[in-house]
Symmetry: D2
Subunit: 271 residues, 4 copies
Amino acid sequence: MANSKFEYVRNFEVVDKCLPNCWIVVRLDGKNFHRFSDDHEFVKPNDDRALDLMKKSAENVMNEFKDVVIAYGQSDEFSFVLKKTTTQFSRRASKLMSNMVSLFSSSFVYHWKDVFDHVPLLYPPAFDGRVVLYPSDQNLRDYLSWRQADCHINNLYNTCFWSLVQDAGCSPKDAEEKLKGSFSSDKNELLFSQFGINYNTLPEMHRKGSVLIWEMKDEITLQPQAKTSAVSDTNPAQREIIRQRRRVTCLHVDIIRDDFWNKHPEILSGT
Amino acid sequence: MANSKFEYVRNFEVVDKCLPNCWIVVRLDGKNFHRFSDDHEFVKPNDDRALDLMKKSAENVMNEFKDVVIAYGQSDEFSFVLKKTTTQFSRRASKLMSNMVSLFSSSFVYHWKDVFDHVPLLYPPAFDGRVVLYPSDQNLRDYLSWRQADCHINNLYNTCFWSLVQDAGCSPKDAEEKLKGSFSSDKNELLFSQFGINYNTLPEMHRKGSVLIWEMKDEITLQPQAKTSAVSDTNPAQREIIRQRRRVTCLHVDIIRDDFWNKHPEILSGT
Amino acid sequence: MANSKFEYVRNFEVVDKCLPNCWIVVRLDGKNFHRFSDDHEFVKPNDDRALDLMKKSAENVMNEFKDVVIAYGQSDEFSFVLKKTTTQFSRRASKLMSNMVSLFSSSFVYHWKDVFDHVPLLYPPAFDGRVVLYPSDQNLRDYLSWRQADCHINNLYNTCFWSLVQDAGCSPKDAEEKLKGSFSSDKNELLFSQFGINYNTLPEMHRKGSVLIWEMKDEITLQPQAKTSAVSDTNPAQREIIRQRRRVTCLHVDIIRDDFWNKHPEILSGT
Amino acid sequence: MANSKFEYVRNFEVVDKCLPNCWIVVRLDGKNFHRFSDDHEFVKPNDDRALDLMKKSAENVMNEFKDVVIAYGQSDEFSFVLKKTTTQFSRRASKLMSNMVSLFSSSFVYHWKDVFDHVPLLYPPAFDGRVVLYPSDQNLRDYLSWRQADCHINNLYNTCFWSLVQDAGCSPKDAEEKLKGSFSSDKNELLFSQFGINYNTLPEMHRKGSVLIWEMKDEITLQPQAKTSAVSDTNPAQREIIRQRRRVTCLHVDIIRDDFWNKHPEILSGT
């Protein structure tokens, strides 16, 4: 049974290389996570276990895709930014995206019990993915600002909504009605006057989302001394070796203003 | 913090709709599964638990994507064929592909313990995905034939290789050397003469791979009788209702020759 | 001055191969031809010189692109259908399209004086182009039917409009108003009752557009006899050689119904 | 004859919008211009009439596409650079490219007699086109440098080749053989020692190619005085109005080094 006569079908495959010298953003979004969060009784408006699991899954992706220079997550979505010069998978969009979404999804299930403990995972969840290219640093920053502003807007709304429902006994419908057309200032005021909540003191993870970047950390290992050396108190059998290693670190900070970028110039410089 | 000034970044997204009236094939492949199978001590040449897990994950995908008319899997890969007329996700390639690869991956981890029992999953696996379009029925059949022929070629080779290594005590290198340049007939002969194995009697799942299609099955439910009816022996309180329902079924059969397609005309006709 | 350090810019080019086994349609449309036809005082509703020039330009394209199996033109547009199996320019969409639109445009200017005689061409015209793929024969026929139905609809409208303006002294505005919302039957009736025109007897080129296909034609050449043969009355010094050659021929016929396709099975069979 | 049942075929068209915030380069190349230049007995190594015709055609394209900020031509090719922010044709690649290549081609034929006088154009020529995106200014400059370096390399070679053939009586084959593997310095030396040619004093159009940019020029028009004004010697019936207008200008200068770009900052700044 020769395979050769069927092999022509390979020519129907399309090579979808990303334009060189552009930032490659892969964004993942939970599919039907409204229902998923209900089914698993997520704490509203924010479930720290779920957010931690998202972060852990994203960290897995970064450890596998070293060319990701920054990742940003909020709610049930995560964006991964590959450096402009990456040549991973020859910059093939579908390869990059499918591998990332796959690893993220399997990690989410794999680590479920680590954060949700005895809460059973009722069914396997799904995330969709997309690839977007950004030619300039400004475009990329605007993209990340867009996602963080979205985080803020949704979190402020959700905090109000769930306060009204959980603490003031409103029906979801009434709460929705009450918030319709309100401005940020109205919502801040509502939280403070009615619920005694100062929005700006709420956890930064909820207000800012999660920013994953690389940090150099000292890693200490013990190495046996060379045999020829005499072992003594001042010259022990082992010695400490300190190596600098890149590690993923998670921040909950503003990435819209310049401060963050000035502090972490390596992200955009790609070094 | 208005979001509007950042929102222009949405225009950088690309709409990647699949050409209408084409079969859409989404193929998933395990990433580094050679290492993954070693790490988890898969039985060689075929580990039925792993194959079952692949099937179970694929079944999950089909139950979520009702427009998949046939799926074919072998080794660490699975292909899903969406009917020509599907409008799911507006035929957006990246949406279809990412959702499928994500659900498959999370299902793989979710069901791991069902088939691998006490064997621990050491780390979350990843699958890559791709989308390929086939304009004609013949192209599609040739694609599936290509994959099944590949299954046969690899399985025959692997059966020989592992017989030489496991039963004849060859080193992997020697086994490889021995098989280099051999024809199918040589390999069949080797199996029979040296190991008493008649290749054609080996399990069909290993030789043909797994074919998932939809089958109509009777589903019986009990329904209470209307209250006004008198309950008696000949007229019990409940009655059986038989409904026809589509269910995924798994076959291990030849899909290269016409027989299969003549028997299942609904696959290509899309009805 | 080494060129090598700049050559990396070639990697930014995209390979845009057309999906195999699909009909490739390249359609050209005159840019701003409303104004162009006014500037050159085209006869309304149809200028036979302009239509002839379109046909001549299209014929040039076909003679250069032998894989075009049929071309269809009407008004200021022309569609070229490349056979499914063409490998010209490796099926690169931009190559195919740009070469066709370029040759068509230069031919249009080149042959202008042949049909427009002393009417000067005031400025060089432009055509835009697009590539569309059709997977099935039915899709392709529906595409061509779409264009021919469009020809009919526009021609019927334009014939009414210009009769009202030129013969009945209506202003363009009034004519437009009169025709608004009218059905085909209304327009036929209007032409007949008010202008004595039986629409179905108008020139087929106007009602059906132009269909260019290949036809085998006998081509007679004279060849000198071999020297050794005696020359006589019954055995002249030269003899006729009849060869069959493909030639572009232009028809003005219905291509919506089956008749045309039954009569020219070679178009779809690609032989 | 309703058109609606065929109109579904429009859905097979693909929207091919260029990524925002990238330079869009459309490059045209003469098809089979080796043969075309032989058929029309072009002067070798450079035919100024042909180069002028290319420039004139390019100028036509720029006057129609105001968003072209710079165009560069050499031999039988021309590149047009559209500013990053252009929204012409909604940035649809095929629209932009086809319209440009079409207008260029028709202009080439239209203006033929203006430069070639009584030399007849034997057949309509064709150009192919392609679209390439460049994300950064440096990428764009490197692209243009690549083309200008190519111009230099080819012109130096061709000058040597045709000197050997035309002046030294070499056969084309011998000339080719002689130049094989030679460096720039060898070619410069050959020209100087054998033919008394100082390469650097040859026409800049041949060595640098043609650079088309926009220049502000004063345009003087006469405007009648307002009726109420008294007409006198010091107050004539008409007065001069000076307006600044953008005009295409052609330079033959180095665009690899910074000088040009420092002198014309408006090209990259897009103002």
